[in-house]
């Protein structure tokens, strides 16, 4: 992979920035969840409506001047989309607002990423923060309704949101109409164009849009799709203002049998986050970590550990917090095999619409299998490069791009493993895989 460039690991590491005194965080602890579902958790207090209002006061109205203040605050703290894309939130709101009123705002909490649980944690413990954010967006944009977008099987989240909506009705809060929708439990169910397509009466599959700034069909009402964490942050910002807002990120840290959702700030490094949230199987630091999501980037741990948990600080290194996955790879687990498994999973999660994704990703996964088995010839290496070049940027959505980003960073970060496998020698006793992959229902 030629588009990776290695510099000195410790060159120009940005310093952490302390949080302002009294800065308000979203969570009061770290949430611990099982590895495979987000139906139960511990470690974070659940805020019902009474607790929520006691903390933040009554829900604010964003009709009129308050909307401009909120947008200005979003600009001030550089609030960006936490679904993974980190597009500036205020710019997105303004762009949808320009398209006209009467549309829909979606709080996207369909966590297709198998390892990530931050949105579930928010819906289970801070449902009113998410609903406040959803209501705020509806008001700022002059939209008609709000939708909480979950995936099928997220029953705990569904019950929590249902209960929260009932609480608000009982308390006489003047919320816009809010519906809960359950998307199929698939990796791509949270893809924004697929959500908009569904609201227009179509299938829940991504689609191509000529103008990404207007992803709805001509003649249809505008739709704003924001990640649930993004909306919760907007609500927090509205309640406490830019000065008291803690510009943190929710990270899901994956250990061998459980996950921890931590709220990490720019005042701490990835190394510090890991020290308080990860259980090492062998007591040693990890070799590397998968950052962002399964379509994110592998980074060598000695490179990532000193960096602050802050997207602006990561950007110069071509890295992003993405959707908040921090998947540490313990020593003695083969990163190449792990990446091959994830790649195969992502290839299988294609929406089966675009040729380069349908045919390209499995073809690349086959070559990676050959690499793992030590059967990758010189010509295969060339073919792999060709495939990666041919697939990049050619899907209707970014799914294949993410899969290839994960792979190309793996081939660089695990270059030693690549060399070992190439000579037919397997890695020194790989322990087991660490990152969870849902069972294929068709194989079961």
């Amino acid at each position: 992979m030629n588009h990776l460039h290695l510099a000195h690991p410790h060159a120009d590491v940005p310093a952490t920035t302390p949080l302002a005194a009294g800065a308000v965080r979203m969570l009061d602890g770290s949430a611990v969840l099982p590895l495979h579902d987000a139906e139960q958790l511990t470690g974070v207090t659940v805020h019902d409506l009474a607790a929520h209002r006691a903390l933040f006061g009554p829900r604010r109205s964003y009709l009129g001047h308050a909307a401009d203040t909120l947008l200005a605050d979003m600009d001030a703290v550089e609030l960006s989309g936490r679904g993974g894309g980190h597009f500036p939130t205020a710019a997105k709101w303004r762009s949808v607002a320009r398209a006209g009123a009467g549309g829909t705002v979606v709080a996207n909490a369909a966590e297709g990423e198998p390892a990530i649980a931050k949105d579930a944690v928010l819906l289970l413990t801070r449902p009113h923060l998410v609903l406040d954010g959803l209501a705020a967006a509806v008001e700022v944009l002059g939209a008609r309704e709000g939708v909480v977008w979950l995936h099928d099987g997220a029953w705990a989240s569904a019950r929590s949101v249902t209960r929260a909506l009932e609480e608000r009705r009982h308390a006489g809060e003047l919320d816009p109409p809010i519906r809960i929708m359950l998307a199929p439990a698939r990796y791509l169910s949270g893809e924004a164009t697929g959500i908009i397509r569904t609201l227009e009466g179509g299938p829940t599959l991504p689609r191509w849009v000529a103008d990404p700034a207007r992803p709805w069909s001509a003649g249809e009402r505008p739709v704003l799709v924001n990640n649930a964490e993004t909306l919760a942050r907007a609500a927090l910002l509205g309640h406490v203002g830019a000065a008291a807002y803690a510009p943190t990120s929710l990270l899901t840290v994956v250990s061998d049998t459980y996950r921890v959702v931590v709220e990490a700030g720019p005042d701490e490094t990835f190394g510090q986050v890991l020290a308080r949230s990860w259980r090492s199987p062998d007591g040693q630091a990890p070799v590397a970590a998968l950052l962002g999501g399964y379509g994110g980037s592998w980074v060598r741990w000695e490179h990532l550990a000193p960096l602050p948990v802050s997207n602006p600080a990561l950007k110069p290194f071509g890295l992003s917090v993405g959707a908040g996955l921090l998947g540490p790879l313990p020593q003695r687990v083969c990163g190449l095999e792990e990446s091959g498994r994830i790649l195969r999973y992502l290839a299988g999660q294609s929406a089966k619409q675009c040729g380069p994704c349908v045919f390209g990703l499995p073809a690349v996964a086959d070559l990676v299998d050959r690499l793992v088995e030590g059967r990758l010839g010189r010509r295969d290496k060339h073919t792999l490069d060709t495939y990666v070049r041919e697939i990049s940027g050619r899907g209707a959505c970014r799914h294949p791009d993410g899969a290839l980003r994960m792979l190309s960073t793996a081939l660089t970060v695990f270059a030693d493993d690549v060399a070992r496998h190439k000579h037919g020698r397997s890695c020194d006793a790989p322990l087991h895989s660490v990152l969870p992959i849902p069972a294929d229902p068709e194989e079961a």
């Binding site: 611990v32 099982p34 139906e39 139960q40 958790l41 511990t42 659940v46 289970l124 977008w149 979950l150 099928d152 029953w155 705990a156 569904a158 019950r159 929590s160 249902t162 519906r179 809960i180 929708m181 359950l182 998307a183 199929p184 698939r186 169910s189 959500i195 569904t198 179509g202 299938p203 829940t204 599959l205 250990s255 049998t257 459980y258 020290a275 308080r276 949230s277 990860w278 259980r279 929406a351 089966k352 619409q353 040729g355 349908v358 045919f359």
Partner: protein, 262 residues
């Protein structure tokens, strides 16, 4: 209408004329050449069987080329084609187009030689009008209609991107009708040795087999439609109440010692 659009229309019209003209030119020159070949054969051989033999062999050749053309067409649209690395898809399309020209040339030779053969009793009327032939009118008619169907499939495809817009694609599928008619034409009028019978049966079975595989294979479009059928649904209050699992906030979900102290 703006001047620019009128210019564009003029360009479109010219390019359609040029493409149609090219096809007609090939057809016409094939006609002339075939006629000359027919005349030459009669002169040189002096045998009244010579044009018959030439016409028949041109027919068999054209049939075999048509089989190859249709087989390649089926491969071009086969759901599994993406796994065929060689020849490349661009080469396959070019081969498909070249084959169609050869089919046209040999079909014209077949028609002209037999239409001008005094002893064949087909004549020009028989060669171009249904039931116009005195010799075996039904089989000849099948061949005539097959020829027109093939011309429709070929000509609209040649005009794709000019006028035919997207018409060419549905029309192109009548090519299989052309092959069926031509096959019947051959079977009913062209079998006089066991070898020819074997050829028609073998090639027919081959095309049926490949067509079966092409139309029964699951394409990624079918898979996407299956995914599209599983839709997002709105959650009703009742459904949330009867949800299979309730959330339990407990401090020991991970076991007592599994959580790392920090």
């Amino acid at each position: 209408m703006s001047r620019e659009r009128m210019d564009q229309k003029a360009i479109d019209a010219r390019s359609v004329t040029m493409a149609t003209g090219l096809v007609l030119l090939v057809t016409a020159s094939a006609f002339v050449t075939s006629w000359l070949i027919g005349l030459g054969v009669q002169r040189v051989a002096g045998d009244k069987m010579a044009p018959w033999i030439l016409g028949r062999s041109a027919g068999v050749t054209s049939y075999l080329l048509l089989v190859a053309l249709v087989l390649l067409g089926l491969v071009l649209s086969h759901p599994a084609r993406a796994r065929i690395a060689w020849p490349s898809s661009a080469t396959r399309i070019r081969a498909h187009i070249s084959l169609s020209v050869f089919v046209l040339v040999f079909t014209v030779l077949h028609i002209v030689v037999l239409a001008t053969d005094k002893y064949a009793n087909v004549g020009w009327w028989g060669a171009f009008l249904p039931m116009g032939s005195q010799y075996r009118p039904l089989p000849v008619t099948l061949g005539v209609i097959g020829f027109y169907a093939g011309m429709a499939a070929g000509l609209t495809a040649a005009l794709a991107g000019r006028i035919a817009r997207r018409v060419w694609w549905p029309v192109h599928k009548v090519a299989i009708v052309s092959l069926i008619l031509v096959w019947l034409h051959g079977v009913l009028a062209g079998i006089d040795t066991p070898a020819l019978l074997a050829m028609y049966v073998g090639t027919g079975a081959l095309v049926v087999g490949v067509a079966f595989s092409r139309y029964t294979a699951v394409s990624h479009r079918d898979q996407a439609e299956d995914l599209a059928d599983v839709r997002a649904t709105e959650l009703s209050g009742r459904r949330a109440d009867t949800a299979p699992r309730a959330v339990v906030y407990s401090d020991d979900i991970l076991g007592s010692d599994s959580r790392r102290s920090s």
